[in-house]
Amino acid sequence: MPRAWIVILGFLLAGLGGLGAYFLPLFQTAASSSTSGPETLPNLNPVTAPTDPFTVLLLGSDDDAKFAPDRLNTQSMILLRVDPTTKQATMLSIPRDLWVPIPNQGWGKISTAYQLGGAQAAVAAVESNFKVHVDDYVWIGLNGLVHLIDRLGGVNLQVTNPVMDDFYPSDLNTGEYPYDYYRVAVLPGAVHMDGVHALQYVRSRHGDVRGDFARSERQQQLLLAIKAQASHLNVADLPNLASAFNGEIKTSIGVDRLRALFSIGSDFNGQNVHRVVLVPPYTSEGWAAGQSVVFPDWGQILPLVHKSFP
């Protein structure tokens, strides 16, 4: 081989090495987060934007030291349907205390499906009860969400009313004693929040007459804010984001598909994202098996769901 070619090949390999080092956190996260088999390295070629509607189940768990890593509930469950053709999206918050039959487990709160069977069980519980098909899931833990928001540079949220909670769990990075609590006062108005404060905003519930429903609404609001913030990003930001997760995210979405989804992100803003929270009369509070639960009125819920998730 001529020497000139050897030199060119050397520079090419050095350049690829530099790129590989830059994208290394992304490869590591992809390999550790996907349950659909080992990830191949993402290609950097242009991606084809999706055109068919797809549904993703977004799951969030309190994964602090109170819980064994393999015994987590999902405190937040949001079903997201995106139609790239009509440029319409719908977010449906599923109450964590919804009392439902869970496949292969019997009756329970829908939040416990994940605890007993992982993401697949949570997906199965949603599919069987809501009569929908779920294409993918994304699970994120507390620290993962905090780090994600911080790496995005914070998020802007419009706080609708004072969010007050005298018993907010002090469970982030608290080592072996995660049972302490502290006071939270999120003041109303448009605010730029870092990850910890955004988490306080979406987790607080004690001081609000709407309890968990208010929390669901704020979680949807945070998702829109994260989406707005992520619209500034490009593929070069992915390694930085990936390194933030450190095992705090699990998804069935591969890196290449993630890039494809990124490409349609700018088509969606607050105007064409419909938000649904199953407040009364779709649900009612009550007691079952000695627990405070939320009973579904499927006669009202299913027509609503099928309108948005055909």
Partner: protein, 337 residues
């Protein structure tokens, strides 16, 4: 010589690889860093404004910022009507207190003592201090404890003597239960009080309204309709112009509205929209009533900057700062001197 060239090429390849690594990082869409106000100069505004960033109060005069307190949880400064002194909040873990400060930021007196050792929930918050136009009374938010439900924490507006040696407090407002409470007190010259009240309707929608009361615990009346979701009132010195932030049910954008206020009849005229479709907060009316300052990001998702708009109309929006990270829960305090 050949080995030297080979070694040189190897170093060059290594440098090229490192260069590619850093070049990839430069393509990132990350946001620019936030500067301290003292590091920048800005478009001058008439008078003096006090703003907050990262827990420190800054004085803005002649286009320059001066830091007057440490970064130590300070927020929501308000200027005493006689000038010469500020009232501000110092927020800490689980509680916050009100302090009287000189305009240079030196502590004159601690006005509340909300810290309680022991259980976190035994502590109290104080926010949004405002001294009445006659200088006699300090209005502020405080969280009285419910004897029936320890989960209930609703802010109510209280009044105490502005004199640090004075004693006693009166609860002015009765917030709707489990809404978070009433906020943003603005005492009126004739003795009434403007503020923001929250309610939650049967379909679980939150509404903000500008309310006015003539006296402590009096019935009060709404000045804006629930569906407009208006809050964060700011009143001109002559009490004839009211600026407010209205979201109209949106959780992503708001508008800055201004309306004529009749302080005698306690009525509000039809609002005019000065700024629309922005995530904005914390309006403050200039001493001459002709300009409204407010905080808003300069790009979606960005940190909050200082803006102004003439009260006459939307054509006059000006960005005063561009790369700060101002505290949007602290409305600018704007005085003439």
């Amino acid at each position: 010589m050949r080995w030297l060239i080979g070694f040189g090429l190897l170093v060059a390849m290594l440098a090229f690889g490192i260069g590619i690594y850093h070049a990839a990082g430069l393509l990132s869409g990350a946001r620019p860093s936030v500067h301290r106000p003292t590091e920048v100069s800005a478009t001058p505004l008439p008078g003096t404004l006090y703003v907050v960033q990262a827990g420190a109060i800054y004085r803005f005069q002649h286009g320059n910022f001066t830091q007057i307190t440490k970064e130590d949880g300070w927020m929501q400064p308000s200027v005493a009507p006689a000038g010469g002194q500020l009232v501000a909040v110092r927020r800490q873990m689980n509680f916050s207190d009100l302090y009287l400060l000189t305009t240079g930021g030196k502590q004159v007196a601690q006005l509340t003592r909300n810290y309680t050792p022991g259980a976190a929930e035994s502590n109290h918050w104080s926010f949004y201090p405002r001294i009445s136009p006659d200088g006699a009374t300090l209005f502020y938010d405080y969280d009285p404890k419910s004897i029936y439900n320890s989960y209930q924490v609703d802010l109510a507006i209280f009044a105490s003597p502005a004199d640090p040696n004075g004693r006693g407090s009166v609860q002015w407002t009765l917030p709707n239960d489990f809404t978070g409470g009433d906020v943003n007190p603005i005492p009126l010259r004739a003795g009434g009080l403007l503020y923001t009240k929250y309610s939650i309707d049967d379909s679980f929608q939150v509404h903000a309204q500008i309310w006015v009361q003539r006296g402590p615990r009096s019935a009060g009346q709404a000045l804006t309709a629930p569906e407009l979701d208006c809050g964060q009132p700011a009143l001109s010195a002559d009490e004839k112009l009211l600026a407010m932030v209205c979201t109209k049910g949106s959780s992503q954008t708001a508008e800055l509205d201004a309306a004529a206020f009749d302080p005698a009849a306690l009525t509000l005229g039809s609002p005019a929209t000065l700024v629309a479709n922005q995530m904005l907060a914390a309006p403050a009316v200039s001493p001459d009533g002709k300009t409204i300052a407010y905080l808003a990001p300069s790009s979606p998702g960005g940190q909050f900057q200082l803006w102004t708009v003439d009260s006459s109309g939307p054509a006059s929006v000006r960005d005063i700062t561009r790369d700060l990270g101002l505290d949007s829960t602290s409305a600018p305090a704007w005085v003439g001197a």
